[in-house]
Subunit: 577 residues, 2 copies
């Protein structure tokens, strides 16, 4: 009666199973998942919570003919195990074979590269519309968490989907958590639906035209299979609301849901982290500095859109900040525009945001903040190549995105001291919007005083003939390249530009007689600060080389390889100088 | 008993009025509005529909202490009349004194420059939070239309606002229309609320924690004043749902709501347009070409996010396209990501979008479309300086925004023939995402065949010494500049780059021996295609000048002035060559 997971090659292998065997299967999947997650880290709670919900999906629906779209897709591990990728979860030497998100390059069961929230229903409406035009009959399923549902585009699509008038199934995985706690009144409403076993008269989903099915026991296979079977094949929009337990089956993950949303390798018995954080982090520096500013000034407000941990604001810090810290939930647009409102109202808003997620509020940054030229501060984390490395979470694009919006000052510090000085400038005295780019890599310190006129580049090392203008985390690289060059008899100037949204004309004019100006930035070259320098120096005979990343989406890259591929090592830079 | 509008200088002047005088006032405001709208054009229906709702606002609330935020703010004309700007609506010689949107530069009663939808509730939450931190007691009011409410960020903020636990009032101006008809199931729900006089048990606003007040007669001052008074001063979130008539009081606008959402000058008696459209338009060319492609291929789908008219798709065209045309409502994120789903499902989606509104779907373009490298087509309208000229609707930024996203091919045609060929390429054969930039200005034709290898620049006129690479609508300018130069004995090459997201290395290599390369683009220079050219030519001695617009937000500019200010006339270009 035992289950050998290695014999599960595709969903076909589970279709004929009895309920007992499906339950055994779920237990085995959970055990294997726990082993891999403990050894490698990853999205612990989300994946352990949906083992049964995923087994039931592949039992009831007929993928890949039926189309299943996972929102964020950080909870798709059990799905991967059931769709031909079991070894990547059983064999430690193959743990790296699969990405942490759905990935069409891996499997026809994965329809999209996904990593940002709230996209699944819109993707599903597209699949459903394409099906309807082609005269198909397959089911289209969006599997979305309660936290992701609060994102604007999920609500847009939730609103639109029933208008298709054809089959679309939204499975709402309600684990009562975002990464941290949920925010927004929708969650009180979901609580009301749970409390009434789905019978509350006031029902937002019915109001929007959905057939609504509630599953109180969202980790019970029988209940799930019954509900999914009822939803399957209907020629209308159906929402199946399943009440699941985040971290199910692993006591430490059940108990510490925020910590175990995503965790580094850990001891599954105690929950203790196996990798200790080392030394300082910019997150901590930011959070403590902002908290002290809050204490000095009651109008300073910290904001996040659902990712407090990623910006250094754990539960204790949030508690300490009280009403001066706002988490709007996964709603980046609302967060950025609320900051505009705060600034107009006389407060000093400081939004901490992960580079890749700031993309979700481009128009809010431009239309609400920049056009109104409001003094709001945005602090970007994980910008550049030294942070996240999943294809859907790259931080290569924020310089091109932010620095070309009028009225915004985009600052890139190269040390902790410069970082703090820029935060002080932005929060205490700037008259318009300032974005500060948290450096990637290890925290660097400078012993020299920080020049607080941030419209000016800073010459870190005087030189002649060659100048290297290196942004943020690449300043140490430039200093090393300069050392190599000095060994060859060339004395390059090394310059920290600090501001990415404009050029320092005076500084650049002084370089027009140089032989070669090299710019380096931790992001794509296209649209970046280097191209502004190249254009400014277009009328001078000086040679200009813009270094940075090629405009491409990389996936799970090795930093050292990317540095070499883009000519970004000190040796390579010295070579071309 | 008559009302002299010229005696209304601020809301204080209407506070003591009797109901009869308020009614007279409303009638006078409507008559004056109608005169100005007929003479100048503008947002006819939205403004006529909210005259009473605005009079009641300023009667009940105490602006500017109480803070009123208008969503989109295209309906703020009566508000402007009541807050010190009456002359701009009475005196034809002063009609141009005010913008078409709220404008803090004009008045302290206007809190934000606004022109995009769905931002008001988020702005209001920021104002409310700032008030709470400062210990204030004023009311904060967001005035939002039913169509705008369907935008994701409005729903995000609607969800978050009650969590503030303090005063915030959302006035939902339900005129049962978007620019065109509404889309999404929310509107069936609003219909149910109207039908039941606000008593339906299923109530999405109550579900989200709002106190809900319904006003059936949304053009009746007494009802409005009663409802607003009930909402005022409450220490919680209140939603006042008012049922208004778009275009109220002007028969042609009441009857033709889509046409009179925004209209050119017209005869108020007949509704006939006073300004006739002249000659061809790219909108028409696009719409007819796409319709013929739909007829050839049942998988071609046209999509819009609530602005069908702006992309040439009037009611008849939509009718003709049937199921192959999708309007998701004002939900750009949903629209772009639905296109990704359509493409994955095997359909050929074509999204028509106004440049400034594409900003609202930056992440969807990047994360959903580009990372997945899906063959979806996006056709940008009103890009550049020849289209819209309100500060909140500028089309200067799409080149920097779109062309720096990997995997996207951004094409800029310079003639109708090139436009059609690019559309054919994008829709029929491209393997990845293609964005086509509709040229600004008059339709231009070319008699030479179109080279369909769009990765290559096209040399339109051979030359030597000087090369002018001019994007899209600036090609005629470049040709004129070349003519001037030829008169001076210089024979410049004139090049149409066609692709903005990459450089044509072969073409540029051939220019390295030139004396001067000039790039021109219809957008900001920063982050644009010219800076890519400058960077590429950084290793050559050739001088490079990048022309285009300065990175700034202009408002209601005169094209001729902007051309001169940025050195973009043929004479200026010839001068610097």
């Amino acid at each position: 009666m035992e289950i050998d997971l290695r014999e599960i090659h595709s969903p076909a292998d589970i279709k004929g199973m009895s309920m007992e065997r499906l339950e055994l299967l779920s237990a085995e999947l959970r055990a294997a998942l726990t082993r891999k997650l403990a050894a490698r880290g990853g999205h612990v709670g989300p994946n352990l919570g949906v083992v049964e919900a995923t087994v039931a999906l592949h039992y009831v629906f007929d993928a890949p003919k039926d189309k299943i779209v996972f929102d964020v897709s950080h909870q798709s591990y059990a799905h991967k195990m059931l769709t031909g990728r079991m070894e990547a979860f059983l064999d430690p030497s193959r743990y790296g074979d699969v990405t942490g998100y759905t990935c069409p390059r891996e499997s026809e069961y994965d329809l999209f590269e996904v990593g940002h929230t709230s996209t699944s229903i819109a993707l599903a409406t597209g699949l459903a519309k394409a099906r309807d035009l082609a005269g198909g009959k397959e089911n289209v399923v969006a599997f979305i968490g309660d936290a992701s549902l609060g994102g604007g585009m999920a609500l847009e699509a939730l609103n639109y989907a029933p208008e298709l008038g054809s089959n679309i199934i939204v499975i709402l995985n309600d684990n009562q958590m975002s990464i941290a706690e949920n925010h927004g009144e929708l969650y009180n409403h979901l609580a009301e639906l749970r409390k009434t076993n789905g019978t509350a008269e006031n029902n937002i989903f019915r109001a929007l035209g959905y057939e609504y099915i509630y599953v109180e026991e969202g980790n019970d296979l029988r209940s799930l299979i019954r509900a999914y079977s009822e939803a399957r094949g209907q020629n209308r929009a159906v929402l199946v609301h399943i009440n699941t337990m985040k971290g199910m089956g692993l006591p430490c993950a059940e108990a510490h849901k925020e910590q175990f949303h995503y965790n580094a390798p850990f001891d599954p018995k105690t929950g203790a982290n196996l990798v200790m954080a080392q030394g300082e982090s910019y997150q901590e520096i930011f959070a403590h500095h902002l908290l002290s500013k809050m204490r000095d000034n009651g109008s300073v407000v910290g904001l996040t859109a659902g990712t407090p941990g990623a910006i250094g604001w754990g539960p204790e810090m949030r508690e300490a900040a009280g009403k001066q810290f706002v988490d709007v939930g996964i709603a980046e647009q609302d967060c950025v525009t609320m900051a505009a409102g705060l600034a107009r109202g006389g407060a000093r808003p400081v939004v901490g945001v992960v580079s890749t997620f700031l993309q979700r509020a481009y128009d809010q940054l431009s239309h609400d903040v920049a056009i109104n030229n409001l003094p709001a501060t945005f602090v970007v984390f994980y910008g550049g190549m030294f942070g996240m490395n999943d294809m859907t979470h790259l931080g290569f694009f924020d310089i091109a995105m932010v620095s070309n919006i009028p009225n915004i000052t985009y600052l890139a510090p190269a040390s902790a001291e410069e970082y703090l000085a820029m935060l002080d400038y932005a929060v205490d005295s700037a008259a318009g919007p300032v974005v500060v780019r948290t450096p990637g890599g290890a925290v660097r310190h400078q012993s020299t005083p920080v020049n607080t006129d941030f419209s000016k580049y800073e010459v870190v090392e005087q030189g002649a003939e060659v100048a290297i203008i290196a942004e943020g985390s690449f300043l140490p690289t430039a200093l090393k390249a300069a050392e190599i060059l000095r060994g060859k008899g060339v004395a390059p100037a090394v310059i920290n530009p600090r501001v990415l949204s404009s050029v320092d004309a005076g500084c650049l004019d002084a370089l027009k007689g140089y032989r070669h100006v090299i710019t380096i930035e931790d992001g794509i070259v296209d649209g970046g600060f280097g191209q502004k320098v190249a254009a400014y120096l277009g009328d001078a005979p000086v040679k200009v080389t813009c270094l940075g990343l090629k405009k491409e989406f990389l996936d799970r890259f090795i930093v050292a390889d990317v540095l070499i591929a883009n000519g970004l090592t000190p040796e390579q830079i010295a070579e071309i100088a």
